[in-house]
């Protein structure tokens, strides 16, 4: 038993060491975001003696954070809503319509999942330009629907097959039309997988960088990630302000993570196993 005890301590020590490495950069950024440039150059490890909130107020004034947050919310909201709704509609119908045609359409959607974004980015930019949505946050949200809907179809199709048909048939007998049945009966039953899809897409769209970089041209339309990218270039070694803006950007998702972590972690395991 003594050996067991020892290996348990050893196990704990390694985990704590790895955990410390995991959190160290975030911790460093947070504590130094409250210091002045001098304090940072003096000692990065020391906790701030006086809290320099000016870093934050200046970062706030430099980029219109409220606007940037709203832009990020618009893009992510539209993207997730479309991906979840349209993906589950298509996935449900494909799962409930047996036959060759459904199989072909399913494979047709799936075949895109291996295409690297870089292969379509140039022509996608041109397409957005042609239909007049380049530079619009709403348009960017719509593009995410096209890019993300396949994965959503994939996950719902698998899930629908585990739901018994009786419920839909009962609703049909009660006189509900197909759309009503789908919204009132099917969607609630699909909610576990819809939450998974929503979370996976939230992490992707909120944090995405390259597509917004190509699509959004006006600073007022920038997502929060893009705004910080601009700031990072402009401030050029003015670390207190850069760090403050990094913290501001990261807070929304970390907060979401603290409250939703069970769903997020389960969702990722779920999404991967199905994939």
């Amino acid at each position: 038993m003594k050996k067991n005890r020892l290996s348990s301590i050893f196990n704990m020590v390694i985990l704590i060491a790895f955990g410390a490495i995991s959190l160290f950069p975030i911790y460093m950024v947070v504590i130094n975001s409250f210091k002045s440039q001098d304090q940072i150059f003096n000692s990065v490890l020391q906790l701030p003696t006086t809290l320099h909130f000016t870093n934050y107020t200046e970062a706030f004034s430099q980029i219109n954070i409220a606007q940037a947050l709203w832009n990020s919310l618009t893009v992510t909201g539209i993207g997730i809503a479309g991906i979840v709704l349209f993906g589950s509609m298509a996935g449900y119908k494909l799962a409930r319509t047996p036959g060759k045609l459904s199989q072909i359409i399913f494979l047709f959607f799936m075949s895109s999942m291996l295409i690297p974004f870089h292969s379509i980015m140039i022509t996608l930019t041109r397409m957005a330009n042609m239909i007049g949505i380049q530079g619009s946050t709403v348009g960017l949200g719509l593009i995410y629907i096209g890019l993300g809907v396949s994965m959503s179809i994939f996950l719902t199709t698998g899930f629908v097959k585990t739901i018994p048909k009786e419920l839909e048939e009962a609703a049909k007998i009660d006189g509900a039309n197909e759309m009503q049945t789908f919204i009132k009966v099917i969607l609630p039953l699909l909610s576990p997988i819809l939450v998974t899809i929503g979370i996976l897409n939230l992490l992707w769209i909120w944090n995405d960088f390259l597509l917004p970089l190509l699509m959004l041209t006006n600073v007022n339309d920038y997502t929060i990630i893009l705004s910080v990218n601009t700031l990072f270039g402009e401030y050029n070694n003015d670390w207190p302000k850069i760090l403050a803006s990094l913290v501001i950007t990261t807070i929304p998702l970390i907060t979401a993570y603290v409250f939703l972590q069970k769903y997020i972690l389960d969702g990722i395991a779920e999404g991967a196993v199905k994939g």
């Binding site: 291996l114 292969s119 022509t123 397409m127 395991a269």
Partner: protein
């Protein structure tokens, strides 16, 4: 039964049957059209366009776009040393990241499996970096590499005094460090879920048969979680080949072109250097085909090693 009924119905009332079929067709369209529309506009047409334009000289400078056959592809393979270098660098990067990230993720997952009370805490901590956007991670680490580590080296840790981002030989590994810091937690979650699915009676049986814990791991655990290994290697392989954000944020491909990965090479060709869209498309097609072949081989080979529980 159903089909018999249907045929009886058809015979008695063809009109009604057609109407039902039409209705079914309509509802099929109604449910699939929205998804298809967005997919076609923003995925399918751009893809077809990309294939087409990869055979043209489409660029920002000239008004006329001409069909140039295979010349873009020939140029990429024979007359573009930067592209070739970036491809080799990406392959080297991918090999290291895929191996280190998966070994580390599996190791941490195994260690966490042994904890009872602290399991959730550790899971939460190790996944935390994943909440930080890739480009923001790169900015955070720029601070660590340029300010924090050089300062820590003064406490006698001279190993930390490196040109983390300025030295071409070191910068490549700095990028790998950030990628692994950011990505390992995600894979760990998948491995933990898989480890929980390994039946306890199998491990117990192996122990009764006198297997050591290492033997147990190799002969029981690994085969039972092979499906998760397949998925995680697939995901990391895909991600690593397309690496862009971390490099863009950390080194911008520099110093010089020493850390220019292939995605960055394509990006520069199209949007910041030459604006040769057609040529950049051809290079992106080459990247696509390489990823496709490698992942298909990987999944095919590893699927063969999976066992049913």
């Amino acid at each position: 039964m159903d089909t018999e009924l249907a045929t009886v119905k058809t015979k008695s009332n063809t009109f009604r049957f057609n109407k039902a079929k039409k209705k079914k067709c309509l509802s099929f369209l109604m449910f699939l059209t929205p998804a298809f529309l967005f997919y076609a506009l923003f995925m399918l047409i751009p893809l077809i366009g990309a294939v087409y334009y990869s055979f043209t000289n489409w660029n920002a400078a000239s008004q006329v776009t001409r069909f140039v056959g295979l010349s873009n592809y020939i140029e990429a393979f024979t007359n573009d040393p930067y592209f070739k270098e970036s491809m080799l660098l990406t392959i080297k990067y991918t090999s290291i990241v895929v191996i280190v990230q998966n070994v580390l993720a599996l190791l941490i997952a195994l260690l966490i499996e042994y904890r009872n009370r602290t399991r959730n805490l550790f899971r939460t901590v190790f996944f935390m970096p994943n909440m930080v956007s890739l480009i923001i991670s790169a900015f955070m680490w720029s601070f660590i590499f340029t300010i924090v580590l050089p300062q820590l080296s003064e406490y006698g840790l001279s190993l930390l005094d490196q040109g983390w981002l300025g030295n071409p030989d070191v910068a490549f590994y700095s990028i790998i460090i950030v990628a692994i810091w950011r990505g390992t937690g995600y894979m760990m979650i998948i491995y933990i879920a898989a480890l929980q699915g390994v039946p306890v009676h199998l491990k117990e049986a192996a122990i009764i048969d006198g297997a050591s814990s290492f033997q147990n791991f190799i002969h029981v655990t690994i085969p039972m979680i092979m499906h998760a290994i397949t998925i995680c290697v697939f995901l990391t392989l895909n991600e690593a080949f397309k690496v862009f954000d971390v490099v863009y944020g950390l080194t911008g491909g520099g110093p010089g072109r020493s850390t220019q990965v292939v995605a960055l090479n394509i990006f520069e060709e199209a949007f910041s250097g030459n604006f040769r869209y057609g040529y950049a498309n051809a290079k992106s097609m080459i990247l696509f085909v390489i990823i496709l072949i490698i992942t298909i081989v990987q999944v095919y080979v590893m699927r063969g090693k999976e066992v049913e529980s």
